[in-house]
Amino acid sequence: MSYTDAFFYFFAALTVGSALVVTFSRSVIYAAFALLFTFLGVAGLYVLLQADFLAVAQIMVYVGGILILLLFGVMLTTRVTNAEITTGTVQGLPATVVVGILLGTLILLVSRATWNVQESLPDVTGTTTEIGERLLTTFLLPFEIAGILLLVAIMGAAMIARSTDKTKEAA
């Protein structure tokens, strides 16, 4: 086992382990903090795949942004009716069976299928230049559409936040 493998198993364990905490933790706050480690683990896996730009973007956007948003979300909503927000489960048995079957099938397929793999990684010092090139040529259309999508999100966020204020005034 080379040290790359060691890193891989470390990050994989970090990702899966913290994801399990996210799923099974009954406290939303704990789940949100566990998610931090899931994101970090995924970023680590990106690094091992030599996707350095993606790894940094993952940390910037998910750890630095989305996670903060999630925590704000939790803080906005806790104790609304003097009840701790916890997650409960219903229909545990059927859900476990269905998810178990799905998981088993996917593991079987993913491990047995012949994947279209590159024999060796391209010899690049960093992916950023390549991403920059592709983003503005081949992937120009999705890139600009992403701009429109962000614009919709900005507008929606502004609308939601403002109307909440209005109801507060009315109350």
Binding site: T105, A113, T114, N116, F139, L141, I145, I148, G156
Partner: protein
């Protein structure tokens, strides 16, 4: 590269117009004060501007932006349906009392309609998995906001929340399916996937084949969610009931059209071999029996939709289940995957546009008048509001698929295309389902005509002239298209050309 971009933009003007409409409406929204109808008119003009550019689309399929997007008669047909639906919804919204309660916010509402129309139009032409995902997300996120637009209504917020949660799950599942496809074929481009599968570049036997099947089932979950195919339909009744009724109508017609377009393109381009095009029936690679999977989904969808609709007391909710059932009917056309089936789906969408928008319009104006969507409150309406009641009756008969209405022709072609491809049992299930649907549609008619208003009130309910005129405007095509469907059919048949690699 600049040349490709210039070449591409030349064909991309309708989409650019829509995007500009959205941005212009947004600027208008913050630059002017309290001119909400103005934003609506601006959006309406923008949609019209995009619409008039559609006829000049090239008649031969063109691939633009390096294979990201396809301009072909097939997508153009759906763009007509989507943009016209968008315009009709804007016009409905001018009249909706429900939206007036959100005074000061309606400007944003129109902006979002422009954005969602843009997204749906993009869906029809997306020929790369990245574009498919992005356009579906653009439509989804905008729809979440629109579904929860009536902030003062609790059920509207509930609808938006349920929509978001189910939507996030299904889009995650779909992304996973896409990643499996990418892993197996090494490309995100639909025609690239086709080439990889056909050339044997990607392994399509044994476990890899099973993985490919699984990937496509996962993709189907994503598409199925958006068109509310059973078992991914759970969100539909609550969202349709909670969302502003104009948005419900929009989701029921345009959103379904867009997803059907992208779903057909996905299956057709990536997995179907057109070697047998002479017979008009496409064979799939490796003789995968897609049709069976889709046929089962289709049967489940229409049966569940129709049977649950029977128990509904809220007309809006009933129409939601009816739209689930209709998704099932239309799925039959995808099952057969023949030229006949495709043109039948397209014809059906035109009919569906008239009958469904008509029905939702009547529900809207009645809800604005009496403040209820409950079927029991429709008692005695036949006498009290004759034009509206006749209109609703015709739309519901059309939805059932009985002559002499447009819905009959739509179902006739759909069922014939299924029978032509030897799926006799599927056609029979479809017909039986239509019979079931008659039961709950007729219940509304019974309440309107055969039962007295609870308090014996027979005073006429007066609707404005505009309302009556709109209802009549919708009645005319619902009847006329039963007899003079030929132009629409010809147009649909001419529009089945989908961009394929090497074309």
């Amino acid at each position: 590269m600049p040349d490709i971009i210039f070449q591409s933009t030349k064909h991309f003007w309708p989409e650019i117009t829509l995007a500009l409409t959205f941005i212009a409406a947004m600027i208008f929204e913050f630059a002017t004060k309290k001119r909400t109808t103005g934003t609506g008119i601006l959006v309406l003009l923008g949609l019209a501007a995009a619409l008039v550019q559609l006829p000049s689309a090239p008649s031969e399929p063109v691939s633009i932006f390096g294979g990201m997007y396809a301009i072909d008669p097939f997508s153009t047909f759906f763009k007509y349906v989507i943009i016209v639906t968008g315009m009709v919804v804007v016009l409905f919204s001018f009249q909706s009392q429900e939206l007036k309660k959100e005074s000061g916010h309606t400007g944003e509402y129109y902006c979002f309609i422009a954005a969602v129309t843009f997204g749906m139009v993009l869906m029809t032409g997306s020929s790369n998995l990245v574009m498919i995902y992005l356009s579906i997300e653009l439509v989804s996120i905008t729809s979440y906001i629109l579904a929860g637009f009536s902030k003062s209504l609790r059920r509207s917020s509930e609808a938006a929340l349920k929509y978001v949660i189910f939507g996030a799950l299904s889009s995650g599942i779909m992304l996973y399916g896409m990643s499996l496809i990418f892993g197996l074929t090494g490309t995100l481009d639909l025609s690239g996937i086709r080439t990889a599968l056909a050339s044997g570049h990607a392994v399509t036997t044994g476990w890899s084949f099973a993985a490919l099947m699984a990937a496509i089932v996962l993709m189907l979950a994503g598409f199925g969610y958006k068109v509310s195919v059973v078992p991914f339909h759970f969100w539909t009744p609550d969202v349709y009931e909670g969302a502003p009724i104009t948005i419900t109508a929009f989701l029921a017609v345009a959103s379904k059209a867009a997803v059907f377009a992208v779903m057909i393109r996905f299956f057709y381009v990536a997995f179907f071999d057109n070697m047998l095009a002479s017979t008009g029936v496409y064979s799939s690679f490796r003789n995968v029996d897609w049709s069976m999977i889709l046929a089962v989904l289709s049967v489940l969808t229409m049966t569940l939709g129709n049977f649950v609709a029977i128990w509904q007391d809220n007309l809006k909710r009933m129409l939601a289940y009816s739209s689930i059932a209709h998704a099932g009917y239309m799925l039959m056309g995808v099952v057969v995957m023949s030229n006949f089936g495709l043109s039948a789906i397209m014809l059906y969408f035109v009919m569906y546009f008239f009958m469904n928008l008509g029905a939702f319009y009547v529900v809207m104006v009645i809800a604005d008048k009496i403040g209820s969507e409950n079927i029991d409150d429709y008692r005695g309406f036949g006498k009290r509001a004759p034009i509206i009641s006749v209109g609703l009756s015709i739309f519901l008969i059309s939805l059932t698929g009985l002559p002499p209405t447009a819905g009959f022709v739509g179902k006739l072609f759909l069922f014939s295309s299924v029978m032509a491809s030897q799926f006799i049992w599927l056609a029979i299930v479809g017909v039986l389902n239509s019979v079931v649907s008659l039961y709950y549609y007729a219940r509304v008619l019974k309440n309107m005509y055969l039962r007295e208003a609870p308090d014996g009130d027979e005073s006429p309910i007066v609707f404005s002239k505009v309302t009556s005129a709109v209802v009549i405007l919708f009645i005319i095509p619902n009847i006329l298209l039963c007899f003079f469907y030929q132009p629409v059919l010809t147009f649909a048949q001419r529009s089945i050309a989908i961009l394929l690699p090497g074309l």
